[in-house]
Symmetry: C2
C-alpha cells in the first residue's frame, strides 16, 4: 500500500520525467535515476522557499502552483525577476552555484508543490547521467535569453508594449496574478498599469 | 613555410585551447578538434562584428583587443550590455540561438582579433566532442549570474557603488575605456560619472 504522500511524489516525478524527455534524448532508466534525486515539498500560499541572506540550497521544478522570485530595491520596493508556475524551474542561480547568501525571495502565490534537488546531487547528475548536462545547458541558454530580452526591453520598449508582450508570452500566468504583482514585474506603478488596461479595453470597444 | 596569417591563427588557437583546458577536463586531441572549428577574424577599431537587424551567425572568443556589446534605447541612447576583452566570449545569445534579427551592436573599441564559430559547428561540437557541453553549460551559468547581478544591482545599488564594483571586478578593462563608455555601461550621464570620480579622488586625498 502506498501512502498519499508517496502517490503525490510519484505523480510529481512523472511530470518531471515527461518534462525532461520532451527536451533531451534520455533513456527511461536514466530519467528515473535523475528524478529519484529530487525531494518533494508542498509550500502553502504566502510561504517562502527562500529569503534574502539565506543560501539557496536547491533548484526546484514546479509541479503545481505559482511562485514569484523577487528582490527589494533601495527604496524597499519589490522588483519581480520572474514568475514560475507548473512545468517551470526556479532557483537563485547565483546563490545556488556559488553557495553565497541570496539577495532574492522566493514566495508561493498559491498553494504549491515543488521537487527540489541539492547542488551535490545536481553535480552528481552532471557527471553520471547522460543528457543532464545538455538539459541544463539548453535551459540556461533559454533563461539567459529571456533575461537579456527583459533587460533590453526595459530600456527600449514602453510599459504598454511590455505589458502586451507579458500577457501574450504568459497567457497562463497573467490571469492568476494581481494587478500589483504584474506592476511589480513590469517595474511600473499599480495606477499606471490600470491606465494601460483601460486603454486596451477602450481600444477593444472601438 | 607558414604565412604570417597562419602563424597568427596558430597563436589564437593556442589561447583558445588554454582557455578551454583551464575550464574542463578535455584531451589534447579533442581540444584541437574543437579549436579547428573556429575561423580567425581581425577587426579594426570602430568596426562592427554585428549590427542591429542582422542575424548573429557566430559566437566569438576574443584573443586580442576589446569590444562593446550594446543596444539603443527608445531615445537613441546607447546602453552597454557588456564588454569583452582577451579571454572573453561574445555573441548575441538570443539572435545566435534562434537565428533571428539582433537588437544589438558589437563594435571593436581597439584593433582586435577574434576566433568565430558558427551555430552548425557549435551544434556539431556538442554532439561529437566530449567536454564541450559542460564548457558551455558552466559558461552560460556564469554569464547568466553576471546578468542577474547587474539587473538586481541596477535597482538596489547606487551609481557610486556600481562604479566601485565595476572597476574592482574589471580592473583590466576600466583603464582602456573612455568616461563615456563607462557611463553608458552604468546607465548614468557622463557628468554624473565625473562627479563620482571626483568624490573618490577627494576621499583618496584625505
Amino acid at each position: 500500500m502506498y501512502t498519499r504522500r508517496e502517490i503525490t511524489h510519484q505523480r510529481m516525478k512523472a511530470l518531471l520525467k515527461k518534462h525532461i524527455q520532451n527536451r533531451v534524448a534520455i533513456s527511461n532508466s536514466e530519467a528515473d535515476k535523475f528524478c529519484d534525486l529530487f525531494a518533494q515539498r508542498t509550500v502553502k500560499k504566502k510561504s517562502f522557499l527562500l529569503r534574502k541572506d539565506e543560501i539557496c540550497r536547491f533548484e526546484g521544478f514546479v509541479t503545481k502552483g505559482l511562485f514569484r522570485i523577487y528582490h527589494l530595491d533601495h527604496n524597499g520596493f519589490e522588483q519581480i525577476l520572474y514568475f514560475a508556475m507548473e512545468d517551470w524551474w526556479l532557483t537563485d542561480i547565483d546563490s545556488f552555484n556559488n553557495q553565497t547568501p541570496s539577495q532574492l525571495f522566493i514566495e508561493a502565490l498559491e498553494d504549491s508543490e515543488v521537487l527540489l534537488i541539492s547542488k551535490e546531487d545536481k553535480e552528481y547528475a552532471y557527471e553520471n547521467i547522460a543528457g543532464i548536462e545538455k538539459l541544463f545547458r539548453t535551459m540556461t541558454q533559454k533563461t539567459h535569453t529571456v533575461l537579456q530580452r527583459r533587460m533590453i526591453d526595459s530600456m527600449s520598449k514602453s510599459a504598454y508594449e511590455r505589458y502586451i508582450d507579458f500577457i501574450q508570452t504568459n497567457p497562463g500566468i497573467a490571469q492568476r496574478l494581481t494587478n500589483l504583482q504584474v506592476a511589480a514585474y513590469l517595474g511600473i506603478s499599480h495606477e499606471f498599469l490600470s491606465k494601460i488596461r483601460r486603454k486596451i479595453q477602450q481600444q477593444g470597444q472601438t
